[in-house]
C-alpha cells in the first residue's frame, strides 16, 4: 500500500496508469478465478506462499526493473542468483564465516559484476544484452568453479534465520524471504519515484540524448542501474540460500526469463522510460498465482506453466502496443 501511495505522488494520468490497472485487474481476476475453481485456494496460507516461492525471483525482478527502465536488459540476474547462493554456502561451510558476513560478501560481488557491466554498456556503448549475456556465462562459470555440487548449510545462526517466521492466523507463516522481498519492493519504489537517481533513470530511459542535454549524469546513472540490478540479484541468491538452506550453482537457471516476464507483465516498457517497481510486484504475483494454480490442479503438467506464462506475456505486450498506438493516433489527430 505504501508503494501505491508513492505512485500517486507523481500524478499520473489515466492513460499512463492503464497498463498497471490492467495488470492489477488481471492479478485479482486470476486469483479469484483460481479461488473459485480450487478448494482451499482462498487462504492466507496460499497467498503468503505465492510470495515465499517467488521471493528470490521477485527481488531480482525489482533490480531488473531499474535496468529495463533505462532501456537496457540484464540477462545475468539468474546466474548471479546461483553464483551468490553457492558463494554464501561455501563461505559458511568451508570458510567458517559468520552467516551475516557470508550473506553480505556476495552482495559486494553482485555490485562489482553490475559495475563492470554498467561500465561496458555506458562508457563503451556495447549492447546491453551482449554484455549481460557474457555476464551470465561468467557468473555461471564462477559458481560452478566454487562447487559443482549443491552445498547444504548447517550453522546454528543460519538455522535461526531460516526458522524465523511471523505466525499469522490460518497456519500462514511468513518467513524471512517474503519479508525481505516486500522491503526491497518498498525501497525500490521509493528510490525509483522519489530520489534524483530514480528520476534520472526515467529520464535516461525516455530519451538519453535529452537527459544529457538536461545535464543529467547519464553514464553514472546507467552504471548505477546495473549495480542495483547486480545487488538485487545477489540478494536474491542469499534468499535462495535461506529458502532452501543450501547453495546451488545451477540455481536460477532461466530465472532471467521469469524476471523479464514479471517486469513486462507489470507494465514496464522494454524500450525504457516507463513503468514502475510496484507493477513488477504485481507481475511477480501473477506468475506466482499461475504457478500455484497449476500445482493445485495436479493433473496439469509443469510445462503448462511455461505455455501459460508465454501466452500471458503475449497478451500483455499486445495490450501495451494497443495503448501505445491509440495514444499516437490521438496525438496525430
Amino acid at each position: 500500500m505504501v508503494a501505491w501511495n508513492v505512485c500517486e505522488g507523481t500524478r499520473m494520468n489515466l492513460r499512463e496508469r492503464l497498463p498497471i490497472l490492467i495488470t492489477a485487474t488481471a492479478a485479482i481476476a486470476l486469483f479469484v478465478a483460481a479461488g473459485l475453481h480450487f478448494d482451499h485456494f482462498f487462504s492466507l496460507r496460499v497467498f503468503v506462499s505465492l510470495f515465499g516461492d517467488k521471493a528470490f525471483m521477485g527481488v531480482a525482478a525489482v533490480g531488473l526493473t531499474f535496468v529495463i527502465l533505462t532501456g537496457g536488459i540484464d540477462l545475468s540476474v539468474g546466474s548471479l542468483v546461483g553464483c551468490s547462493s553457492i558463494m554464501a554456502a561455501s563461505l559458511i561451510q568451508n570458510g567458517h564465516f559468520h552467516p551475516l558476513v557470508a550473506l553480505s560478501l556476495p552482495l559486494l560481488f553482485g555490485l562489482f559484476v553490475g559495475w563492470v557491466q554498467g561500465i561496458l554498456v555506458a562508457k563503451f556503448q556495447l549492447p546491453s544484452f551482449l554484455v549481460t549475456l557474457a555476464g551470465l556465462f561468467f557468473c555461471r562459470g564462477m559458481g560452478f568453479r566454487i562447487s559443482q555440487e549443491a552445498i547444504s548449510i548447517h550453522h546454528p545462526y543460519f538455522d535461526s534465520l531460516t526458522e524465523f517466521a511471523i505466525h499469522l492466523p490460518g497456519h500462514a507463516n511468513v518467513n524471512l524471504p517474503p519479508i525481505v522481498f516486500l522491503i526491497v519492493v518498498v525501497i525500490g519504489a521509493f528510490v525509483a519515484k522519489q530520489t534524483p537517481f530514480g528520476r534520472a533513470i526515467y529520464a535516461v530511459g525516455g530519451n538519453a540524448a535529452s537527459a544529457r542535454l538536461m545535464g543529467l549524469p547519464v553514464q553514472r546513472t546507467l552504471v548505477m542501474a546495473y549495480m542495483v540490478s547486480g545487488f538485487c540479484a545477489a540478494l536474491g541468491g542469499g534468499l535462495f540460500a535461506l529458502y532452501t538452506s543450501a547453495g546451488n550453482a545451477s540455481a536460477g537457471t532461466g530465472l532471467e526469463l521469469d524476471a523479464i516476464a514479471a517486469v513486462v507483465i507489470g507494465g514496464t516498457l522494454l524500450s525504457g522510460g516507463f513503468g514502475s517497481v510496484f507493477g513488477t510486484l504485481l507481475g511477480v504475483c501473477i506468475l506466482g498465482i499461475v504457478n500455484s494454480a497449476i500445482t493445485f490442479q495436479g493433473t496439469l503438467s509443469s510445462w503448462w506453466t511455461k505455455i501459460v506464462i508465454g501466452v500471458l506475456l503475449l497478451a500483455f505486450m499486445l495490450v501495451q502496443k494497443g495503448i501505445e498506438r491509440a495514444a499516437k493516433r490521438r496525438v496525430h489527430g
Binding site: L130, F138, G141, W303, I307
Partner: protein, 339 residues
C-alpha cells in the same frame, strides 16, 4: 589502427592464436587418421561439433543485421527435434499418433522444418506487424517453445531407432561427418541467397535505417518475416542434427543456451549488433572459434566450467576491440603514457 581491416579480422586472429597455442602445447591436436573410411581427429571433431552453432549463427546473422535478435532458436531446436522424434515413434495420446509418414526420412525432415518455419513466422509476425521489440517477441517462444515441445512429447524424453534418420547426426560422407556437410551447404545457400539475390542488400537496408528503406521501396515487413523464418529453419536443421546424433529428443535440454552461443558467434564474427553491416563468413568463424575454445579447454584437462568464464572474457574482449569508443579511449591512454 588501419581502417580497412575486414570486420571478422579479430575473430580470425583469435582463432589463429588458439590454433597456434594448440600446435605447440596440445600434442596430436592437428593429427588426422583414417579409420573405416572416416577421418578422425580433433580438427574434424571441432568442425562436427561447431556445425549446429554455425547453422544457428547463419540465421542469427541475418536477424541481427535486420536490427533484431532471435532468442528462440534454442527452443525451436527442441521443438523440431521433438517433432521429428515423435514422427518416428508416434507415441499414443499425442497429436502424432495419427500422422504416418511411413518412416520416410525426407518426410520427417520436411515436416519438422515446416513446424520450425511456423515458429519463425510467429516471431516474424510479432516483430513486423505488431512492431514488438525483437528481444521480447522471441522471448515468448523461448519461454513457451520448450513447453510446447514437452506438450508434443508428453514430458518424456523420446528415444527412437531409425538408422536412416540417425545418419543426419552420426553418418559420414566422403570421410567427413554429415553435420559438417549440412553446415557447409547451409553456408553456401545463405551466401548465394544474400549475395546472389537482392535479399542481402534489403536486409542491410532494413537494418541500417528502416524508415529510409521503406521510402526506398523496400518492403521491410516482408524482409523481417523472411529473416525470422530463415533463422527458425536453421534452428530446425540444427535441432534435427542434435536429435539424430543422440537418437533421442529431450525437450528440456536440447539446444539449451545455444541461442547465446549463436549470438556470441555472430558478435565475435564482426556483424554490427546495431544492424546493417553483416558478415556470414565471420559468423561461421565465430562459431568455429567458440568450439575450438571449448575443445581446447577439454583436451587440456581444465574443468569445463572454466569454458563459460573464458567465453565471457573473449566475447567482451572482441567486442571492445571492435568498439570505436574503446579504441579512441585506449589510444588516449597510450598517448598519455608516452607523453
Amino acid at each position: 589502427m588501419k581502417k580497412n581491416l575486414p570486420s571478422w579480422f579479430w575473430a580470425v586472429a583469435m582463432l589463429v592464436l588458439l590454433l597456434g597455442f594448440n600446435l605447440f602445447f596440445t600434442p596430436g591436436f592437428f593429427g588426422l587418421h583414417v579409420r573405416d573410411g572416416r577421418i578422425y581427429g580433433s580438427l574434424v571433431d571441432v568442425l562436427n561439433r561447431a556445425a549446429p552453432v554455425a547453422l544457428l549463427s547463419l540465421g542469427m546473422t541475418l536477424v541481427i543485421a535486420a536490427r533484431g535478435v532471435d532468442l528462440s532458436v534454442g527452443a525451436i531446436m527442441a521443438v523440431a527435434g521433438t517433432v521429428a522424434a515423435c514422427l518416428i515413434t508416434r507415441p499414443k495420446d499425442t497429436p502424432f499418433a495419427g500422422i504416418d509418414l511411413h518412416g520416410s526420412v525426407l518426410g520427417i525432415v520436411l515436416f519438422s522444418l515446416a513446424v520450425a518455419a511456423v515458429c519463425g513466422l510467429f516471431n516474424g509476425m510479432l516483430v513486423s506487424f505488431f512492431e514488438l521489440q525483437p528481444i521480447v517477441a522471441t522471448l515468448l517462444l523461448m519461454v513457451a517453445g520448450r513447453g510446447i515441445a514437452q506438450l508434443f512429447s508428453g514430458g518424456q524424453i523420446v528415444t527412437f531407432e531409425n538408422p536412416a534418420f540417425a545418419n543426419l547426426g552420426k553418418g559420414a560422407l566422403l570421410g567427413l561427418p554429415i553435420p559438417i556437410w549440412i553446415a557447409a551447404s547451409g553456408f553456401g545457400f545463405f551466401t548465394l541467397l544474400c549475395r546472389g539475390t537482392a535479399l542481402g542488400l534489403f536486409v542491410e537496408a532494413t537494418g541500417s535505417n528502416p524508415t529510409a528503406a521503406r521510402y526506398a521501396g523496400v518492403n521491410a515487413g516482408r524482409i523481417l518475416l523472411t529473416v525470422y523464418v530463415l533463422s527458425a529453419v536453421c534452428a530446425g536443421v540444427a535441432g534435427l542434427i542434435g536429435t539424430a546424433d543422440i537418437q533421442a529428443a529431450d525437450a528440456n535440454q536440447a539446444g539449451l543456451y545455444l541461442e547465446l552461443d549463436a549470438i556470441l558467434a555472430v558478435a565475435v564474427g564482426g556483424t554490427s549488433l546495431m544492424g546493417g553491416r553483416f558478415s556470414l563468413i565471420g559468423s561461421v568463424i565465430g562459431a568455429l572459434l567458440m568450439q575450438t575454445l571449448t575443445t581446447t579447454i577439454l583436451t587440456r584437462g581444465i574443468s569445463t566450467e572454466v569454458t563459460l568464464v573464458v567465453k565471457a572474457a573473449i566475447v567482451v574482449a572482441v567486442c571492445l576491440l571492435q568498439s570505436p569508443i574503446f579504441r579512441q579511449w585506449s589510444r588516449g591512454m597510450f598517448v598519455r603514457a608516452r607523453a
